[in-house]
């Protein structure tokens, strides 16, 4: 009788422990699924940010030195006007206000007879050229700036406020780094093949030529161009 009681108590204890262990086990399974990949991803972000901070700190130090020089110039009345003029000139080049000439790539896009060229095809090439580090881009000699529109309106395509027939070939020019010629041409060729293989636009019968040019000219955009929308950027009241 006593033996049976001991046995039953022992069995009950074993079953209780078993139950607790099963519960613990389930809890462990349900715990967060943090993996090494999450840490690797975080680490990559961290390294990226550290590099960015180092670069920005360096830039700030240079900028600080330059501001000091300018302040000293101002105090001594001995301004380095030439360097300011040079900076203005550089900013004008960046802004697209100066014609530029260098090695580059020309992309000619033509659609089948009587078929309108889609604005999206031109925008895709322009976006890709920007991704590839193009420093100056034009379409049909319209220099593209940050706010240049490329949109279709009926049978025309509007760029910087000017109309171009969608049934005529479009010529995109871009000044790119000649050192990256092979990779840039390969990439653009991939883009071209993707466009030609796109089921939705296959019926447009596009013909696309991509070629490097030892010297091409990308014209300037006039500072009065509608593309700059200066009236919105510099209200008359200011």
């Amino acid at each position: 009788m006593k033996q049976a009681l001991v046995r039953n108590v022992a069995l009950t204890a074993v079953c209780v422990i078993l139950g607790v262990l099963i519960a613990l086990q389930m809890k462990n399974v349900n715990l967060s699924n943090l993996r090494e990949e999450n840490i690797a991803e975080l680490q990559t972000k961290l390294i990226d940010l550290i590099n960015k901070n180092n670069e920005l700190a360096e830039r700030n130090a240079e900028l600080y030195d330059y501001v000091q020089i300018l302040e000293n110039d101002k105090a001594s009345g001995n301004a380095q006007i030439e360097s300011i003029v040079r900076e203005k000139e550089r900013a004008a080049i960046f802004a697209g206000l100066r014609e530029v000439r260098n090695y580059g790539i020309v992309i000619t896009v033509q659609s089948g007879e009587g078929i309108d060229i889609r604005d999206s095809v031109l925008r895709q090439f322009v976006n890709e050229l920007r991704n590839l580090g193009a420093q100056a881009v034009s379409i049909n000699d319209e220099r593209l700036v940050a706010t240049s529109e490329i949109r279709s309106s009926g049978s025309n395509l509007i760029i910087n406020g000017n109309n171009y027939s969608r049934q005529e070939p479009f010529e995109i020019k871009a000044i790119t780094d000649p050192k990256n010629e092979t990779s840039i041409l390969d990439y653009l060729d991939t883009v071209k093949r993707a466009i030609l293989a796109d089921g939705q636009i296959q019926s447009d019968q596009y013909s696309i030529q991509i070629s490097p040019v030892p010297e091409l000219t990308v014209p300037a955009l006039n500072e009065d161009s509608i593309a700059f929308k200066i009236d919105l950027l510099m209200p008359k009241s200011s």
């Binding site: 086990q25 975080l42 920005l56 530029v100 420093q135 790119t176």
Partner: protein, 251 residues
């Protein structure tokens, strides 16, 4: 009597079998638990490492915000000193020209009426259940930028990064980058321009309307405002790196 013994043997055998099964199960669970404790220790290490990196990341993000603010202040100070210096020396025209060119280049903060468009992933996005269209892609941001440009925007920024003619919004791995910076959702696109025209292109865009349908659930919200602030190009102090192929090549 023999029958009684046989019955007792059978009962004993049953009890022993039951005990055997319970102890076997017990043994397996104990082993499993030991294994779990081991992996738990490893997981605890991972959690520790993760939290450590998270803390470092936060510190670096704070540092970046400080440096960014310092950069902004230094650029403003530089512009102010140049302006004062030129005016002091009688170069008022050059000062005005410089300011004008800097505005056109996107090197200054600009304010005006406009629109703020926000794109975000579907709340609670589940990679197994939800469509790929329920998260924001680089192409979506480019699409909104193109819509705003085509509707006459005079200045555009994405997550406070000014869009210039050299800006590209591109997906690298799992993150979207713009102007050398990683961007995380929500993507806030600000544009200065006619609020009615800008709102109209966003409201009327088929792709955006499809993506924000209940089935796909992408978040696309927009609001017009009388004062939208678009920040300057962050790299305005070192824009020379974007004209290396152009400088010296102007006729």
């Amino acid at each position: 009597m023999k029958k009684k013994f046989q019955k007792q043997d059978k009962k004993k055998l049953l009890q022993q079998s039951l005990l055997f099964v319970i102890f076997l199960l017990f043994g397996i669970i104990i082993m499993n638990h030991v294994e779990s404790v081991r992996s738990e220790t490893k997981r605890q290490d991972l959690i520790f490492q993760y939290r450590e990196f998270e803390k470092q990341l936060q510190d670096q993000q704070d540092k970046y915000a400080r440096l960014e603010q310092e950069n902004k202040e230094l650029n403003e100070r530089k512009a102010a000193v140049i302006e004062a210096l030129l005016i002091d020396q009688g170069y008022d025209t050059l000062s005005n020209e410089l300011q004008y060119v800097r505005v056109l280049a996107g090197f200054t903060e600009v304010n005006g009426p406009g629109i703020i468009v926000t794109l975000n992933d579907k709340p609670g996005y589940d990679i197994l259940k939800d469509s790929d269209a329920s998260i924001v892609h680089d192409g979506d941001i480019r699409h909104v930028i193109d819509l705003l440009r085509n509707a006459g925007a005079a200045a555009i920024s994405v997550n406070d990064l000014r869009i210039t003619h050299v800006s590209s919004v591109i997906c690298i791995g799992s993150t979207i980058r713009c102007n050398q910076s990683r961007m995380l959702p929500p993507f806030v696109i600000k544009a200065i321009g006619d609020p009615v025209a800008l709102q109209s292109v966003i409201d009327g865009d088929e792709m955006l309307n499809l993506r924000k349908s209940t089935e796909i659930g992408l978040i696309v919200s927009s609001e017009t405002s009388e004062t939208v602030t678009v920040p300057p190009f962050m790299e305005a102090d070192q824009f020379q790196r974007y004209i290396t192929l152009l400088e010296g090549n102007t006729p």
